[in-house]
Amino acid sequence: DQQVKQNSPSLSVQEGRISILNCDYTNSMFDYFLWYKKYPAEGPTFLISISSIKDKNEDGRFTVFLNKSAKHLSLHIVPSQPGDSAVYFCAASRTGANSKLTFGKGITLSVRP
């Protein structure tokens, strides 16, 4: 049973516009959520995270929103740039020294020049 779901496999947006990437989770024990970005032939790199005690976290062009009641989070990229074209993975975790991440299937973002 998939605990972290990214239901859209791909998204295409115009450069300069907003990209909104969605993620849903089913495990109510998750209390920390992360987004990773992955280019082909490279490992995933950390992008932004949010704790369940917050509903928004912002870092430059990237903002993550968390709706705990809906078990839904989203990543907003504004403005989108061609270099943002990559696979984005949503991940969730429980707080703890030996915590492990559960990842979604990923979404491929293409930003058109």
Binding site: Q6, Y32, G43, N98, K100, K105, G106
Partner: protein
């Protein structure tokens, strides 16, 4: 910056071969992980290790084993490689000094089993 190094970027092996994938991290991290990435399936956890000599099964351990004899090295072993183990394999490490997150991934090993 912490570095996670996977010994091979690309590997081609024959069905039935025993395959070793090596991962080394240089920041004294306690936790280490092996994931595989497949199109449409995302990142799935194979095995992880909380510390030296410790190992735990992840979500898809069948056909794999691991070894962690030294803190910096975590090896993934395919006992008898099969074509359905063709995949991108990603190693990661993290420190327990942080309550959450803190993963650093290697660049991956693209394994093809023919």
């Amino acid at each position: 910056d912490v570095k996670v190094t996977q010994s091979s970027r690309y590997l081609v092996k024959r069905t039935g071969e025993k395959v070793f994938l090596e991962c080394v991290q240089d920041m004294d991290h306690e936790n280490m992980f092996w994931y595989r990435q497949d199109p449409g399936l995302g990142l799935r956890l194979i095995y992880f290790s909380y510390d030296v000599k410790m190992k735990e099964k992840g979500d898809i351990p069948e056909g794999y084993s691991v070894s962690r004899e030294k803190k910096e090295r975590f090896s993934l072993i395919l006992e008898s490689a099969s074509t359905n183990q063709t995949s991108m394999y990603l190693c990661a490490s993290r420190t327990t000094d942080r309550e959450v997150g803190g993963y650093t991934f290697g660049s991956g090993t693209r394994l093809t089993v023919v």
